[in-house]
Amino acid sequence: MTLFLQELVVGITTGAIYALIALGYTMVYGIIELINFAHGDIFMISTFVCITIFAAFGITSSSSAPTGLALVGVLLVTLLGTMLICAVLGVVIERVAYRPLRNAPRLAPLISAIGVSLILEDVGKLWKGINFVSFPQIFPEITYYIGPVYITSVNILVIVVALVLMVALQWLVTRTRTGRAMRAVAQDREAAALMGVNVNRIIAITFFIGAALAGAAGLIYGLQFGSTIFVLGFTLGLFAFTAAVLGGIGNLVGAMLGGVLIGVIEALASLIPDSVLPHGGAAWHEAVIFVVLILILVFRPSGLLGQRTPEKV
């Protein structure tokens, strides 16, 4: 039971990161029905951006971390800087690789997205090499015990940052003019355009926000796991997409819920003993998540919170 609760804590923490990435998938899918394969790689790039910004502050894995207000300042600047850079990257990708294909057959933007994903992956490889890159652990790790279960300060930071961003996003989408325009475009692009919504601008904003969230996810991922690598985007992208599908693609709350659920499932999968699966569940966690994806798609393709929509003719 203790082990179960402990894995639950781990699961919720990773789940919060997945949720942030899943939001980017779900928003883009909701608005232009495209699986943005490059999204996971934007997240990967963001972890590298974080390391670079830290380095600009003189912080590396070996140097001593700042404390107090300096720490908060560094973290805030890094967070906002990474979000901004990734957001711009997302908008540029949309402008270059997806917008020219707005009216092309469905397969075209999808293949273009795969192309962008390949490009970003190799950019990451050129930038930081082919090995794991260590991420400076600047946030002091304090362990709190709740009964037998422990939770670290980093876990708490991750969950708090993710929560704040999700609440902000929810507010933006449901309470602001831009958010209303986004929902209108997602429902019916042509009708929205007729009502005076600048569709291209709204799509660009969606990419901006989605990529910014991936940027934030990059920072908290680095703080939580302490290392990153150029192929990170692929696996995490797949997990996050599964999360988005689990929650119901196009649904923001669903993506958050799905992300946390996937994180928990992944953590619990590592409890599967060797006798069931050779080498234990941890070696199979990708397979477990994939099976989850298949099961959702077979039994509830609209996801947990999504609505069944008939295909547009």
Partner: protein, 664 residues
């Protein structure tokens, strides 16, 4: 003398045509014969037949070489006759010569001097440059080439006879020109001492035979060209067969009348034609040349590129399984429009199928005494089908849960599948030896062949490719293939037309996976081991790139795409890296400049970057790929033709005036 009359060009324009094509074709043929190896092949074969040379080739080699040489020159002479007959004479002489220079002679010279892959890679740089320059020059000169023939020209008996005589003249005079050039070249070689005296006899015989052969090959070309003409109808009025009352018109003919676009496309292939080099008639000749070249490649390779035949053949064998994979993936992605990003999984399954059975692995797992190696090796032949069937089974299995999903979900599920299957093989180490892989996989056995050299593998993969291409073409044109294409275009409309979506999609998955099983079994047997490292999910994307770059749904396009991607992937980048390591090479400085900014930069390191850029650029600027299928091109560029089509169809089919309306 009637023959003499047919051989002397009566009209001036015919003479111009003859000069145009004889010069145009003679130059590349001369380059092949004298600069490269045509002459060397013939002389070596003859010398070893006579037993006087210091090179003694086996009799089977000589026979193969002789067949190749005969096919090659006969095809070229016939092609000359065909082109002279099929040319409408609208396009200028110089224009054609420049085209032949850029598209045939330059690649030949580049390949001769730099090798096959670097040569073609440079062509890929030269050709776009040429297009750019040509467009600029044309703009500067305010010149627009006449558009290709737009109407169906009906030939009367006199014109047909003229066509025939032109073909004969083409074959005859081209052969004479070839014979004369060859004789002069041989005399020069003889005087300079490079040619043994005994071969002068063969030169004389050749000079005598060539014109006669040219005459008959020209006749053959004329027959081929005439089959592509539209003859006048018996009634004497070509336009009257649709509206003549009471006459039955075949269904097919009615359908043909309906599509103006198709008509226009067919008009481009009719004889006479403005661009005969690009017509499907001429493409048959290219196909014969390519097939002859590929089939006899192992024997002519030493003459073309010198030592190291075995290594090159091994490389081409590997390129071959990429071709099979691309063709298989093309069924799923190209025909049925289902984006499969996990194709590598089926390839892995096929590999492991033969890997486990074709080694001591299976008997070890079952704790049985090992089976005789010869028996197992012979088992390869049934197992190549077995591996394909196993892969197809998993293809259907993966298809089942994804049937109800839209294309994009499918992409992600297949991506996950491609990620999982290698993990399964890695972790189930009881059966697969995990990360160590299965070693000691047996090669196939076939009486009279030595599987330690690369040649039998070359022919094996050739046979598999031929089988795959044949199956692909038959599938594409079958009822099932048309159903796939219908699904690709509009799933809902297809379902409304009575297509069973579930079965059709499952068949696409199964058929696509089937061919990857071929490739997998071949791969395991050739490499002699199966390791999970050989199957990364990134490879699936590379396979997709082959299909997309070549042309989605186009069989020749996909083959070219696979070869291009394979060359970039396996040879070109490595070659660039080795060139960049040489300080005297200009690439050295470029490499250093980039490596200064990005430490660890090598050309091999950016292969995904290159493919990524290619994918994006092709999707934006040329979504139909390098060599598109006619249907796909029509779909993607429908807009321009739509107006004419609508206008034409305002007239009810069968009504008076309908046909004249359709014949644009």
């Amino acid at each position: 003398m009637s023959i003499a009359n047919t051989l002397v060009p009566a009209r001036r324009d015919t003479r111009a045509l003859l000069i145009k094509w004889i010069v145009g074709l003679l130059v590349p043929v001369a380059v092949f014969t004298f600069v490269w190896s045509g002459e060397a092949i013939i002389n070596n074969a003859l010398l070893s037949l006579l037993g006087t040379g210091n090179v003694a080739l086996g009799i089977s080699l000589v026979v193969q070489l002789a067949i190749f040489i005969l096919i090659f020159y006969a095809t070229v002479i016939t092609l000359a006759g065909y082109l002279v007959a099929a040319d409408s004479g609208q396009r200028g002489m110089i224009e054609l010569w420049i085209d032949i220079l850029v598209f045939v002679v330059v690649p030949l010279l580049l390949v001769i001097s730099l090798g096959l892959i670097i040569g073609f890679a440079l062509c890929a740089v030269v050709w776009p440059l040429y297009f750019l320059v040509r467009r600029r020059v044309r703009q500067a000169l305010h010149y627009t080439p006449p558009p290709p023939l737009q109407n169906l020209r009906i030939l009367d008996a006199e014109q047909r006879a003229d066509l025939m005589s032109r073909a004969i003249m083409g074959g005859f005079w081209f052969s004479i020109a070839l014979a004369v050039v060859w004789l002069i070249a041989d005399l020069i070689f003889y005087v300079s001492g490079a040619l043994p005296t005994i071969l002068l006899i063969s030169a004389v015989i050749r000079t005598l035979i060539l014109p006669v052969a040219g005459y008959f090959l020209g006749r053959l070309a004329g027959v081929i060209a005439l089959r592509r003409t539209i003859a006048q109808k018996n009634g004497g009025n070509g336009e009257s067969d649709t509206d003549r009352a009471g006459r039955r018109i075949s269904k097919r003919r009615q359908l043909e009348e309906l599509s103006t676009t198709r008509k226009r496309e067919e008009a481009r292939d009719l004889v006479p034609n403005d661009l005969p080099l690009r017509s499907t008639g001429a493409q048959r000749f290219y196909l014969i040349l390519i097939v002859a070249f590929v089939l006899f490649y192992p024997v002519i390779d030493p003459f073309l590129f010198g030592f190291g035949t075995d290594g090159r053949l091994a490389g081409y064998g590997d390129a071959g399984y990429y071709v099979i994979l691309a063709l298989g993936l093309n069924i799923v992605v190209g025909f049925a429009g289902l984006l499969d990003l996990g194709y590598v999984a089926f390839f892995a399954i096929g590999s492991y199928a033969w890997g486990i059975i074709g080694s001591t692995q299976l008997t070890n797992i079952l704790s049985l005494p090992p089976i005789n190696q010869h028996l197992l090796s012979g088992l390869f032949w049934p197992m190549i089908i077995g591996a394909a069937l196993i892969a197809a089974f998993f293809g259907v299995l993966l298809g089942l849960p994804t049937l109800r999903l839209r294309g994009d979900y499918l992409a992600i599920v297949t991506l996950g599948f491609g990620e999982i299957v290698p993990i399964v093989f890695l972790e189930l180490d009881k059966y697969t030896n995990g990360p160590n892989g299965i070693v000691g996989v047996y090669a196939p056995a076939f009486p009279g062949t030595n599987w330690l050299s690369a040649t039998p593998y070359y022919y094996l993969i050739l046979a598999l490719i031929a089988l795959t291409i044949f199956a692909n073409i038959r599938l594409r044109d079958s009822r099932l293939g048309r159903a796939w294409i219908a699904i690709r275009e509009d799933e809902i409309a297809a379902a409304s037309s009575g297509i069973n979506l579930r079965n059709t999609k499952l068949m696409a998955f199964g058929a696509g996976a089937f061919f990857s099983g071929f490739a997998g079994a071949y791969h395991a047997a050739k490499l002699g081991l199966v390791s999970p490292d050989n199957f990364s999910v990134g490879d699936s994307i590379i396979y997709l790139a082959m299909v997309v770059i070549g042309g989605i749904g186009s069989i020749p396009g996909v083959i070219v795409g696979a070869l291009a991607v394979y060359s970039i992937n396996q040879f070109l980048l490595a070659q660039l890296d080795s060139l960049a390591a040489d300080p005297s090479n200009p690439l050295f400085a470029i490499h250093n400049a980039i490596a200064h900014v990005f430490p660890g930069f090598t050309f091999g390191n950016i292969r995904n970057l290159i493919f990524g850029v290619l994918l994006v650029v092709i999707m934006i600027f040329r979504p139909e790929g390098l060599i598109p299928s006619a249907r796909r091109r029509r779909e993607l560029h429908a807009g321009a033709d739509e107006q004419a089509e609508v206008g034409a169809l305002d007239v009810v089919p069968g009504a008076p005036g309908f046909e004249s309306e359709v014949r644009i």
